[in-house]
Amino acid sequence: MNALVLRLKRSGQLPVAAAALCTLGLLLIGSLYSSNFLSAEYLLLQLQIASFLGVVATGAMLVILLGGIDLSVPWLVTVGGVMSAAVAGWWGGAGAAFAIPFGIACGALLGLVNGIGVAYLRVPSMIFTLGINAVAQGLIVVHTGGFAPQDRATPAMHLIATGRSFFGLPNALLVWVAVGTATMFLLHRTALGRAIYAVGNRERAAYLSGIDTRRVTLLVFVIAGACSAAAGVLLTGYSTKAYQAMGDAYLLPAIAAVVLGGTHILGGRGSYLGTVVGVVLITLLQSILSVMQIPEMGRQVTYGVVIIVMLLVYGRGRRMSE
């Protein structure tokens, strides 16, 4: 047993295994309450809901791997949802075809501004993305306030978010699988992926090794913006409407999922598999707490305590004396 833990620790996969165990534990606790928790239907539904968080967490993870943090998630999600719905209203049938790429492109554009600020102006990511979040909020208020643009999801968005086109698997889950596969390919099979880890470890060393670290940072923020907006498009399709502040509930769970999955909050270390497990864990936790009809107070407290306890079990830093 000890040898196994040691090997896991050395391979860096201990958090993934621990988070996976916790997920199974949660399911067991849930099944004591109601056998529905183990039904395929319930699990598929949870995975469908988890895919929205999963897409957001993908972008959040890439930024955290770089050693940054993206606080512009809430309003970039909203930008993706609102703009994709609006473009369908502006141009009718032709607009509907463009709705999804247009929404994602708007998010990527704001992500580009994030990247310019962080990579080239050297403003700390925490504060610059905060500013972009405020600007995105202002843009959406101006956009939706003066006149009422269309806020209904197009049929295509609805199909992607809620449909089950292949073998009864939710389409949203397939989207997450596609995004996840692309991310794993990016991180482990491309030079850019290597460079992301390198910059996260020590940007100065990466720069001296000939990596254009600023371009890497820029690209990562563009991807993160696109991921947030894509989640907004999915959410709009899921709830059939885009609305203000629709992304507010995604910032903290995304960061928590990434960190619970073993990605180091200061960057340079982490695996996408961990993020997947973290996302599933957070989604299940939220779902079980709400099914058990625990009041909101208890849910918040449990949620916070679980994150702290899990990190105390496997996410502790080193002693100064080591």
Partner: protein, 328 residues
């Protein structure tokens, strides 16, 4: 060192503080000049009531940031103190005073818990306070599932009015600076906190009491956030467990810290700068109001101004001669 050189050193070290103070004076002068009533006690009192709350929460945020940490739970401790005060600060003056002590102690306890987890649990401050913030918000929700409650009316009127000829909240702010920030900054613990922010390894090697300094720092941050929450209760006469209020105060406090010239990397800055940063942020919002800007455009302008203000630090890049200095 001649006094002249000493002054130049002082000016350079406190550049951020004086920059924020100058920015505030300009913006506030513009606001008063454009205001239909102008420089009168009621106008100043209203402005103070808006600005001081954020100023105190920004001071709370400054302390962990100086140690190169961060406290994402300040907004939630603020909300928790607000809800607690709406239950406890009632009744006879003695009971209300006791209630105030309990509220402040609860805030300090929240901060102490943050500090203990960060030091002995060896978790990163950002994720620790993110999680404890959720817990504190849950407790606030338990205390006030729906907005309501009350507060000692006499105290509230005295604190939000100007019985002494100056807005009382400005006196409270001054008292907090003199009684909390100055002693902390002058103490060995405060110096240790700045040393940790500059280089934790070097501080450790020099025998700086790292654990103790961090625990005191986070405890004081909790205490300051609770003072802010208590004052909020006096301003609104009620308690409300709103995650939106908590989140906004946390994020604005970080913005105020940066505008006030404190480096997010730690080791340099001051809570007084953050006070001016907070006042700048608040006055900008009012400025858009007196200039009759379409309300629809206000959030966008506020966002753009915030973005420009935090990007001013980029001007430092022009002075970099060795390209390697750009990358940390």
């Amino acid at each position: 060192m001649t006094t002249h050189a000493a002054w130049r050193y002082h000016l350079r070290a406190q550049r951020g503080l004086y920059g924020a103070a100058a920015m505030f004076v300009v913006i506030f002068a513009l606001y008063i000049a454009k205001h239909p009533v102008g420089w009168t006690l009621p106008v100043l009192t209203t402005a103070a009531n808006k600005g001081v709350l954020l100023a105190i929460v920004a001071m709370a945020q400054t302390l962990p940031v100086l140690t190169s940490g961060i406290d994402l739970s300040v907004g939630m401790v603020f909300v928790l103190a607000n809800c607690l005060a709406s239950h406890l600060v009632v009744g006879t003056p003695l009971q209300a005073a006791l209630g105030i002590v309990v509220v402040l102690a609860a805030g300090a306890l929240c901060g102490l818990i943050n500090g203990l987890i960060i030091v002995f649990g060896r978790l990163q401050p950002i994720i620790t306070t993110l999680a404890t913030g959720t817990v504190y918000f849950g407790l606030a929700l338990g205390l006030r599932p729906v907005p309501g409650g009350q507060v000692h009316a006499g105290m509230a009127d005295a604190v939000t009015g100007a019985p002494l000829g100056v807005p009382s909240l400005l006196l409270v702010l001054l008292a907090v600076v003199v009684l909390v920030w100055v002693p902390y900054r002058k103490s060995a613990i405060g110096r240790a906190a700045l040393a940790i922010g500059s280089s934790e390894n070097a501080a450790y090697m020099s025998g700086v009491p790292i654990g103790r300094a961090k625990i005191v720092t986070y405890t004081l941050a909790g205490l300051l956030a609770a003072i802010g929450g208590l004052l909020l209760t006096f301003v609104t006469y009620s308690g409300e467990a709103s995650s939106a209020i908590g989140g906004t105060y946390t994020l604005n406090s970080i913005a105020a810290v940066v505008i006030g010239g404190t480096s997010l990397a730690g080791g340099a800055g001051s809570a007084i700068g953050s006070v001016f940063g907070a006042l700048v942020l608040r006055t900008i919002g009012d400025l858009l109001f007196v200039f009759d800007l379409e309300p629809l455009w206000q959030p966008l302008f506020q966002g753009v101004i915030l973005l420009v203000a935090v990007s001013l630090g980029a001007l430092q890049l022009l002075k970099v001669t060795n390209r390697l200095e750009v990358f940390k």
